[in-house]
Amino acid sequence: MQRRTVLSSAVLTATAAFGLSACSKSKTGTQKAADADPKAPVTITISGRPTPDNAASLKSFNAKVEAFKKKYPNVTAKTTEDKWDAQTFQAKIAAGTLPTIMGVPFTDIQSLIGRGQVADLTDYLAKDDVLSELNADTSKIAKKNGKSYGVVTAAYTMAISYNRALYKKAGLDPDTPPGSWDDLYNNTVAISQKTGTPGLVIATTDNVGGWIATTMSYGFGSLAQQGSGDSVKATLTSDGMKQALQFLQKVRWQGNAFGRNILQSNDDNSKAFGANRAGHVINGGDLYSRMITQFGMKPDDYGIGPIPQADNGLGALGGGTVQIISPKASANETLAGLNWIKFNSLQQYFDKDLAVSNAKASVADKLPVGVPILPVLSDKLNEQYLGWIKEYINVPRDHFDTYVESFSSLPIVPEPAVKGQETYASLDSVVQAVLGRKNADIAALLEKAQKDVQGQIDAA
């Protein structure tokens, strides 16, 4: 028995510890735009099919796919429920099952480009009338060294979302979003004291805490990273970052307005806000649709304003979705994939009938129409589109006024380009410490995070 135990425990140990398997096939698509034949039969896989619990969105998605197939009869379009998920993305790439088209958040696109895990689309975009019209400001998110790796189909800036119903309850004016950090603090405390609901809640895990701390730091005037090429320096000990964390510390311990849950995922946070259990959240400016369709928030209760700026504030961190093509797609698949991206997200800016019929269908399905986001094409095309669908807009756009005005006044500040996720991961811990321990030493915590992150940047 002795020997068998040794043997089996060794095998068991080895088997268990090597949980990671990798069966990668190194097949790379040719991806030369010139090789692509727009008429050749081709099969693509479209990700992002809504799940059955989201019946209205699913119906509208399926109808769109059918219309796409009619327009491009040579394309066989399969659909999957896959959506962006950093962990499954890696597994899918390894297994060769990545859908042809995938929406990726701004925050991850640069690391994917850095690792060579997305297709280079530069030639395709240059040749295309629609895709070459993309808003240059937002498109630069998906560029590196002059090459383009994706199509930005949705863009927003980070924002303060607030609950208008709780504003009214606390005696605040729901039409006036907080204009400064002091306003935000005062409103937060007022909500907490008068309604018993936490006034401000942010997500703190899975790198989202660091993402939000960085956003706040921009508003207080400091970047999280400076330089480029070989001389990238993390700047986590900056005054802006310190003030951002002091702000959170004040909300939590002085204003007692944060609530007790200092370990929240982004999902927990969204759910809490959608269920009217948070006065403010700091998150992307694209929160509206999810709050309304998924969490049943009343459209009238949703309010939004820009991230407050100190006198030396730098602007708002930008977010959004970049559509990418699988690095293993062939030239024909890439072309068909881009056609889907255009058809799905951009065609409506050029085609009045399509714009109107899409809007009609969405209204019938009780989906939001006319949610204000950053224009991904030119302002002019955006205005024209809004004119076409005017009578179908079911979003209280006047609640977005202050936020929309900020598009022209607030610069969009990109995220830390090198080891961004690792930077956020280190900041997660700092945010958790500040919210979890009453007298956390912010300077010391940042000092340590700075050292860790700089070490990772230097090793990259």
Partner: protein, 339 residues
């Protein structure tokens, strides 16, 4: 006992062999197996014809599926991981060899020490909390004259709940507001509310309690089976000699159980050193990385940073460490397990 954390890994094989060994060690009948096959006076040389006549082909046929399953699903990934730990790959273009660089990068990570200490802390707590519970429970159930079956079913029930569901359930129990189950109960006696998972000191123990709850059923059943196979005559003899309940437990029960206990403890060590699901779902490694374990670090390398080389390098280091732990454990307990 967080044997459960083995569940997502290829643990079926592990569990299978465990059961066999337990069955073997629990069997009280003497197993001096009589030599059945070696009956021939002289050993004949094995020729292909003889091999076929003795049923070699059917043996092989039965063997092939096993070989395929283990080979494809266990051994090949192990070999691949080994190779990957010396490579850099983006999983798209062919991998490049980088020598020991991945290992250097693992050892340079400031989180490695934190994760190692956290993992050891989890294991220590899991043994302290999780080891005695099933032994005591199994002893108690074995003493029951009626309802023994019902009691063992009840003890086993938590094991039936899928791990992630159980963890999410407990996450709600641990809710830091007054609405969390535990805080609501404590509130009624005027205590709390406590931030079970939010407090850096209580986060890990809270996770261990959940893991123990989820895993104790299975281990209890195994101990119970071993207990039930102890011959009652031994107890009767001890009783005639005037041994009280404690002395009977010490001199009869424990020595009879020791094979099972040793094995379960080893499996628990290996399992807990690979804890992942519980902290991943409950705390995502927080607060302040107090519950970030080695396996979570591997996970982050691979699936957040897309750095498979580094992830497999750390996996390899962990595997070597676990082999060493097992070897030392078996060496240290060899006397006790033999006598």
């Amino acid at each position: 006992m967080p044997l459960r954390s083995l569940k997502h890994l290829p643990a079926t094989a592990a569990r299978g062999s465990t059961d066999q060994q337990i069955a073997a060690s629990a069997a009280t009948t003497p197993t001096a197996a009589p030599p059945i096959i070696a009956a021939g006076p002289r050993r004949r040389r094995m020729t292909p014809a003889l091999w076929v006549r003795r049923g070699g082909i059917s043996t092989l046929l039965f063997f092939v599926p096993l070989l395929f399953c283990f080979g494809y699903f266990a051994w090949w990934p192990i070999v691949r991981s080994l190779v990957l730990s010396f490579q850099q790959t983006n999983l798209v273009t062919p991998a490049t060899w980088v020598g020991l660089e991945n290992f250097h990068r693992v050892l340079a990570d400031p989180l490695l020490l934190t994760a190692t200490l956290n993992t050891l802390w989890f294991t220590v707590l899991a043994v302290i909390i999780g080891f005695p519970v099933p032994v005591l429970l199994a002893t108690a159930i074995a003493e029951m004259r009626r309802w023994r079956q019902v009691a063992s079913v009840l003890a086993y029930i938590p094991t039936i709940i899928p791990p992630v569901v159980a963890v999410l359930l407990w996450k709600m129990f641990y809710d830091p507001s007054e609405n969390g189950l535990f805080n609501a109960v404590l509130h009624s006696v005027g205590a709390g509310p406590f931030g079970w998972l939010q407090n850096p000191l209580s986060a890990m123990p809270s996770i261990v309690v959940q893991a123990t709850w989820a895993g104790f059923g299975q281990t209890t059943i195994i101990y119970l089976a071993a207990l039930m196979s102890i011959s009652p005559e031994l107890y009767e003899a001890a009783e005639v000699d005037g041994a009280g309940i404690l002395r009977r437990a010490w001199h009869v029960t424990l020595p009879q159980l020791r094979g099972v206990i040793l094995l379960m403890l080893l499996l628990q060590l290996i399992g807990t050193l690979q804890v992942f699901t519980e902290p991943f779902v409950m705390t995502a490694g927080g607060p302040e990385n107090r519950t970030t374990t080695l396996l979570m670090l591997i996970y982050r390398y691979a699936f957040v940073s897309g750095d498979y080389g580094r992830a497999t390098a750390l996996s390899l280091l962990l595997a070597v460490a676990l082999c060493l732990v097992s070897a030392v454990y078996l060496w240290a307990t060899r006397k006790w397990s033999r006598s």
